[in-house]
Amino acid sequence: MRFQDAARDARAVVYSGIQADPQVARSAALLADATPAQRVLARAVMNGETTEPGPWRAMFPSLFGSSASGGDAERARSGAILEASLAVAERGEQVRSQVRGALVEELAAQLLARRVGAGAVRRERRVLFDGVRAEIHPYDVTVEQDGAAEVYDCKWGARGINGDVLHQLDDARTHAADEDERLAVALVVFDARRSCDVRLAHQTAPFERTAIVTLETLTELAEPRR
């Protein structure tokens, strides 16, 4: 098993520009330390139509209201997440969609880097196995460590879960096992577990050995593996 950079086709070049957008890194840094409620705020605003902060503040009384939990730092982070999310929402629909996807990838990469160090975390990588035809699509995020490699695909919402991505992840795990290598595979979804479970129930592809990381459990990417 070995890792390789993905081919730099036209789509990859355009998308790398989105990934390098400072707004993506800034939003990801805020969300890396966010509470689940703050992540729901980001999801709602980046999906939303309203581009004024006032209505969003009123829609999230648990973050901005008189009974908001947390101290000044929590409230300041909520405000910063709202501001950053509005900046994404104000962009055109196509760009917004790309930024949201890049954001989930960057968020996963930042959290993983806290656990394994930034040097072990790579982006847009393919995994090659002897005698196996290479997958066309690269994995969004990889952790490349001897004996403890991990591959991640990332989705903005539960609807992004599909048979292709589940098969690709499970195939990688299986091929690695055939080479006596351990490869952990996971799907990171910036959506609620409940919605992901509904989507998964509609899939026939195998996912029993694929970790599903959701909006509620993102922080666990940064924690030691059990």
Binding site: P36, A37, V40, R43, A44, N47, G48, E49, T50, P55, A58, M59, F60, P61, S62, G65, S66, S67, G157, A158, R159, D191, A192, R194, S195, D197, V198, R199, A201, H202, E216
Partner: protein
């Protein structure tokens, strides 16, 4: 405090959610997923009503629910409706002090 209960807020949100569900069902390939997704979140709403339905709701919670209903009322694209079929219930539950 508003004169409304948590049940009143959930009922109002559920009515708007039904309209959103119908919009999402316009994507024929996703009809089954959309229907199951809405059912799953309605089950969560039902659990909240069973536990705290009679509790008086705050003015802030009531206002939040109305604004969230306004927000989904702006959606005309069925694909975006499907996105919001997951997001809207999370927002509603947070507004009334529940975990999604």
């Amino acid at each position: 405090m508003s004169a409304e209960s948590i049940r009143d807020l959930i009922d109002r949100a559920s009515d708007a959610y039904g309209v959103l569900e119908e919009l999402g069902q316009e994507i024929e390939d996703e009809w089954s997923y959309v229907t199951d997704l809405a059912d799953a979140w309605r089950t969560r709403f039902d659990d909240v009503v069973a536990g705290r339905g009679g509790v008086e709701a705050s003015d802030e919670a009531s206002g939040a629910i109305d604004l969230a209903i306004d927000e989904i009322g702006r959606i005309g694209d069925p694909h975006r409706a499907i996105d919001w079929l997951s997001t809207f219930p999370q927002l509603i539950l947070l507004a009334i002090g529940e975990r999604p």
